[in-house]
């Protein structure tokens, strides 16, 4: 058994949140640079130039790369040999988020869904835990903006719809979102599981590096075919038309029921911000 003080988790989440709010992931920045290079549309090219300059300014001035510093999504894979001491896990995560959003001058974007009154400190975070083998804790931190989150969808397809149905659902979601979610988007897809786990798989998919293929060849083929069809839509950067509408499609898969084929499509904007740490 390994004892981990929850203060350590709070401090780690704090550092991850501060860094994530300001910096795009290196794989996202690389994909944006590549999209800029191959772009032929004038307005889309102008948009890429603005975005690349913005990423530089955010880094230099240590200010949020996007003002939507998101709802904090925190995934923890906790080794079952870990014993957590000194307070509740959720309290520790929220403490890290609270301090980072204050010290980083981040926008507090969390509110009551009915009254719309802001909680004032960007908590609570959306916290997911998985118990895994070992004595380590892997933390994935994803500040999720809602311009793109709003364009996400969950489909309960019929099993007969198969791979073509899955690809169709992915492309349709991006098409109907159009210019609204800040394209070029990064598309996270959950395939299978139940209604709830399918959505979680889609969220996990966007924590993968942009461009990283699923190790399963059949799933990787769905990713590349969906990406090809999305980019043929011609929505382009910011909806200004162009060659790149998505930077990548990332699918995660799980067994499902004999009667169903759930497909969740979680849209991430071009500001991919994601941190990973192991305690």
């Amino acid at each position: 058994m390994r004892i981990v003080n929850t203060k350590k988790i709070a401090d780690t989440v704090y550092k991850m949140a501060l860094h994530a709010g300001v910096n795009l992931t290196p794989s996202c920045l690389k994909a944006l640079n590549e999209a800029h290079e191959i772009e032929s549309g004038e307005a889309a090219k102008f948009a890429y130039e603005t975005l690349l300059q913005n990423a530089k300014v955010a880094c230099e001035k240590n200010m949020p790369v996007c003002q939507d510093t998101g709802m904090a999504v925190v995934m923890l894979e906790i080794g079952q040999e870990v014993f957590l001491e000194d307070g509740l896990l959720a309290d520790a995560v929220n403490d890290g988020v609270r301090r980072a959003y204050s010290d980083g001058y981040f926008r507090k974007s969390v509110c009551n869904p009915i009254t719309r009154v802001n909680t004032g400190d960007n908590t609570p975070a959306a916290i997911h835990t998985e118990i895994v083998a070992g004595d380590k804790i892997k933390i994935t931190y994803l500040p999720k903006g809602f311009g793109s989150e709003n364009m996400s969808k969950l489909y309960m397809l019929k099993p007969a719809q198969g791979v073509e149905g899955i690809i169709g659902a992915i492309v349709e979601t991006v098409k109907s979102a159009g210019s609204r979610p800040c394209p070029p988007v990064y598309v996270g897809v959950g395939i299978g599981g139940s209604f709830d786990t399918c959505a979680y798989l889609a969220k996990k998919a966007i924590t993968r590096e942009v461009g990283e293929k699923n190790p399963d060849k059949v799933i990787a083929e769905i990713e590349s075919e969906a990406l090809k069809r999305i980019n043929a839509l011609g929505i382009g950067c910011q909806g200004f038309h162009g060659n790149t509408t998505a930077l990548g499609v990332s699918c995660e898969c799980a067994p499902t029921h004999i009667a169903g084929l759930p497909v969740a499509v979680n849209i991430q904007c071009h500001c991919v911000r994601c941190e990973k740490e192991i305690i």
Partner: protein, 172 residues
């Protein structure tokens, strides 16, 4: 690149074509979801709005807090379509135009045409860059709404693209 100084006269508005890249300087004001809801409560109750709407440009945005020594925190555009149900009324009341991101409804496009106004698309996700284009920021209404309050912003060389022009054309 077209340099624009606010407020825009109708002659300038008429010269703008969807797809034009512009740099905007002058005074704009932020308002997003909650501020629009509040504005419409004021209109419904016949109360005077706490700011001048005539020829104003509303920026659909909710900034990050400003760091010490800076006028504003990061402040890029939010998705405009959520304000679709509000924009036509405000345009008919004299609003000069909006800045946001993404498509808006056909009713909004009609209202822009009807009133000879303009809708600019700022580059979504470029929050830090826009924060630096803001030289002065002051909360002028609904301070309790925090980042969703109405802020008067002085901007210099604020990059945008004409999304809907007054002839009914669209970049999308």
């Amino acid at each position: 690149m077209i340099k624009l100084t606010l407020p825009l006269d109708k002659k300038t508005v008429k010269s703008l074509k969807a797809g034009d890249s512009v740099l905007i300087s002058g005074t704009i004001m932020t308002a997003r979801d909650c501020a629009h809801k509040r504005i419409f409560e004021y209109i419904k109750e016949g109360k005077k709005l706490p700011f001048e709407l005539k020829d104003a440009i509303i920026y659909y945005a909710g900034p990050c807090p400003a760091k010490p020594g800076m006028a504003s925190g990061s402040c890029g555009p939010t998705t405009s379509t959520r304000m679709d149900s509000f924009a036509p009324t405000l345009l008919d009341m004299g609003l000069g135009g909006m800045i946001g991101k993404g498509e808006m409804s056909g009713e909004v496009r009609e209202a822009i045409k009807r009133n000879t106004c303009v809708y600019f698309a700022a580059i979504g996700g470029a929050g830090a860059l826009y924060g630096n284009a803001i030289k002065k920021s002051e909360c002028i209404a609904f301070a309790d709404l925090l980042s969703e309050a109405v802020y008067r912003l002085e901007v210099v060389d604020f990059p945008a693209v004409v999304a809907y022009d007054c002839d009914g054309n669209s970049i999308y």
